[in-house]
């Protein structure tokens, strides 16, 4: 590690891995990738020590300013670019990075270094005036909202930078500094100030984290995925996050920046598209992916950019995954010896198991199955029943034991009781952010929105099957299966494994000859009632109730109350909850 020239600023050159408490989580993961020899855009970090100085003096010292300037010189030498000027402009990102991630810390400012001059140079270099102008707009937008705390600023794409700056000054009462170095210092101060934001202070006091830790600031060169035909950007998962299949799964977008993938303006290609233009970068990427998964011992989600044939890894973190994939990955990784069974079971959640066990269509409906309506699938799941248009009627008929589907033009809070009673929800109008969609998802009810005018009238009284994923409403009641231990090998294997690690027995039915204490009449939304019931139990009791499949807290309470066993169906969510409650008790 080169120290330029004092420990308040450190360059991340991969020669060593500094202490996480000194450089913060973001810089630490960059340094870690560097020590593996992986290609990461050059970066330096302003340490938590500098933050402590700042908190004490309430100002950035001149000494620190000159060390930051040296850090920039180092970045310029590494990239053969210069900040704020030509011939090849350097743009940087500025990120906060506390040793422990916490809310309230400042967001990332991207593309710092762009101004009228460098915009023109960037336009020439990328061959796109539009891209350079948009980079300028995005920088001003982030700077205004993050550093100057603008409220609801909208910078129109068609305007000139001078107009954007005027708009920001009008909104915030402050000017964006003209010089890029002043912008950089103001951003660093904003990161240090965010350490004392309301949310960060609250979080620390709630979690017993010291106010003295301080945050670091990571300053990293931006790389360009849109320079030429051999440039591009993409995302790679070390395994398929939708199915769990143990093969790398990724997307690549040639001649693009990361934001283009996120914005959905362009359709990415599969990773194999890289093999034509950048076979070497692809090989390097796949090797890195393998290494990062083994080192992280979990599925990785890797963001990368290729700049004129050179691969750069921007970020690697544990990947989000669909419930089915989570289950398969846990089992595969145990098999591969990558994680212990206890660790694997700790990574899946009871909620994922509940989603995994949801009813699904027995067979995919073919063209012979009439589709009565089609809208946007807003909350996944399958529901069938008779269509009613009135929430009171839905509630009454559901109480009488009927399966009902509530169909409305739109929904409002007046309809929520009917939505709770229904097995699925349909609306004529609205999209994925409409009330019906939000409430449907919150309730876990399949929901299809925007089916179009006249749907309610056309469907009332008919029996339909609703697919909340695809948005299809089928005529009649289709065959539905519920995955179970007896017919789904994945569910069975997980249940067997979890029962070996659970601190109590979980049964689907009361074992013959045993007596179970029923919890079915207890209101489990009332923690006091639940606690009172547990207090009544003798040690080593057997408890029974649907609550244990639905509510993880109830399982933990039962274990804490010293029960011998729990009877609930399906078993799998309660098994996973029990394993995790057991691990918590052992202080792991």
């Amino acid at each position: 590690m080169t120290q330029v020239p004092s420990p308040r600023v450190l360059t991340l050159d991969g020669s060593e891995l500094p202490d996480r408490a000194l450089i913060g989580g973001k810089a630490w993961s960059i340094a870690r990738m560097k020590t593996f020899g992986l290609p990461v855009p050059p970066a330096f970090v302003i340490t938590t020590e500098a933050c402590k100085d700042y908190q004490r003096d309430n100002a950035l010292s001149d000494a620190l300013a000159s060390e930051i300037a040296n850090g920039i010189l180092w970045l310029e030498a590494q990239t053969r670019r210069t900040l704020g000027t030509g011939p090849r402009p350097l743009l940087v990102s500025v990120r906060s990075g506390a040793p422990i991630s916490m809310p309230g810390m400042m967001d990332t400012v991207l593309n710092l270094g762009i101004n009228e001059d460098t915009e023109a140079l960037l336009a020439a270099e990328c061959g796109s005036a539009e891209f350079a102008r948009d980079t300028h707009r995005r920088f001003l937008d982030l700077y205004a909202s993050i550093v100057l705390k603008a409220s609801a600023l909208e910078l129109e794409a068609g305007d000139e930078p001078a107009a954007w700056r005027a708009k920001i000054a009008a909104d915030t009462g402050e000017n964006v500094p003209a010089g890029v170095r002043d912008q950089l210092f103001a951003t660093v101060r904003a990161v240090f100030d965010s350490w004392n934001s309301r949310r960060a202070r609250r979080y620390r006091s709630h979690h017993g984290i010291s106010d003295d830790l301080g945050t670091a600031v990571t300053i990293q060169a931006m790389v360009f995925g849109n320079l030429d035909a051999r440039s591009g950007t993409g995302v790679l998962f070390s395994r398929n996050p939708l199915t769990g299949e143990p093969l790398p799964y990724g997307e690549y977008l040639a001649r693009a920046q990361g934001e283009d993938v996120v914005s959905g303006k362009h359709t990415p290609e599969p990773l194999s598209a890289m093999s034509k233009t950048n076979p070497h970068a692809l090989d390097q990427l796949l090797t890195a992916c393998n290494l990062l998964e083994r080192e992280g011992r979990d599925v990785q989600d890797i963001e990368f950019t290729v700049e004129s044939g050179t691969l750069y890894l921007l970020q690697s973190r544990s990947a989000k995954r669909a419930p089915h994939a989570a289950a398969r990955i846990a089992l595969d990784m145990i098999e591969e010896g990558l994680v212990s069974p206890a660790e694997a079971l700790n990574r899946i959640t009871p909620e994922q198991m509940r989603i995994l066990l949801r009813p699904r269509l027995a067979t995919a409906p073919g063209p012979e199955t009439p589709v009565l309506a089609k809208g946007e699938g807003a909350s996944p799941g399958i529901g069938f029943g008779v269509v009613v248009s009135d929430p009171e009627e839905a509630e009454t008929r559901a109480h009488a034991g009927e399966h009902v589907i509530l169909a409305r033009e739109t929904t409002s809070p007046n309809d929520v009781h009917g939505m709770i009673a229904a097995h699925a929800i349909l609306t004529e109008q609205g999209g994925s952010t409409s009330h019906a969609a939000v409430v449907g998802r919150a309730l876990g009810r399949p929901c299809v929105v925007g089916c179009g005018r006249g749907t309610v009238t056309a469907l009332v009284g008919r029996t339909v099957t609703v697919d909340g994923q695809t948005g299809a409403v089928y005529d009649g009641r289709l065959d539905i299966v519920e995955p179970s231990e007896s017919d789904d090998p994945l569910v069975r294997t997980l249940a067997i494994l979890a029962s070996q690690h659970a601190p109590v027995e979980i049964h689907e039915t009361v074992p013959s000859g045993a007596q179970a204490h029923s919890f079915d009449d207890i209101d489990f939304n009332d923690p006091a009632a639940l606690a009172a019931e547990f207090a009544k139990l003798p040690k080593g009791a057997l408890v029974q109730g649907a609550v244990f499949a639905a509510n993880d807290g109830a399982v933990a309470q039962a274990i804490a109350a010293g029960v011998k066993g729990i009877v609930t169906a399906p078993r799998l969510p309660a098994l996973i909850a029990a394993v995790q409650a057991g691990q918590d008790n052992h202080g792991t």
């Binding site: 609801a152 709630h206 398929n240 996050p241 939708l242 799964y249 990574r347 996944p380 809070p413 409409s434």
Partner: protein, 200 residues
Amino acid sequence: MNALNDVLHGIAIKKNGSPAQIAELVGYSQAETAKLCALAVQSGRAVEIDGKFTLTPLARIAIEADYSRIHQDLRRNSDFMAAYEAFERINVKLKGLITDWQTMEVGGQRVANDHSNRSYDMEMINRLAELHEVADRTFGQLVKGVPRLSYYRDRLLQALERAEEGEIEWVSDVRIESYHTLWFELHEDLLRLVGRQRVE
């Protein structure tokens, strides 16, 4: 606006609310509110089921017809109306954010957020807090026009803080006065005050 009207408005917003919940919203004592709720039932304006009150269909229409008369001054208050328009703009972002909270992108597909990824949840709650900080300035302006709206301002912050402490159901659970539930009620309240219709 007379006291009975206030309470009828509270019943309309709270949907199946208890006198305690309605009292906090309209800013009367619980005893006073309970008395007015009972009066509303006697006069056929509301029905009571298990201690919770709902307007009758006719009362619902009558109260909506009354709003334009009761709030005519407010609707000419340009500061309040500007704050309302700002709320509508933030509302679009809030709806998108709640959707991002409930769903997540996995390998290019939107799936239900099963809340198994703590860093994703934390990122979303962080975004909610940032939106709240922006919205709070607008709440401040709304409260200047209608002081009782501070009810929402205080409760929204409480819901946010519970979510920040890890009780994630306080983001959007429909069965409790979560951030989204309160936001929706505030929106509904504002629509009635200014005389607009909700657009999906």
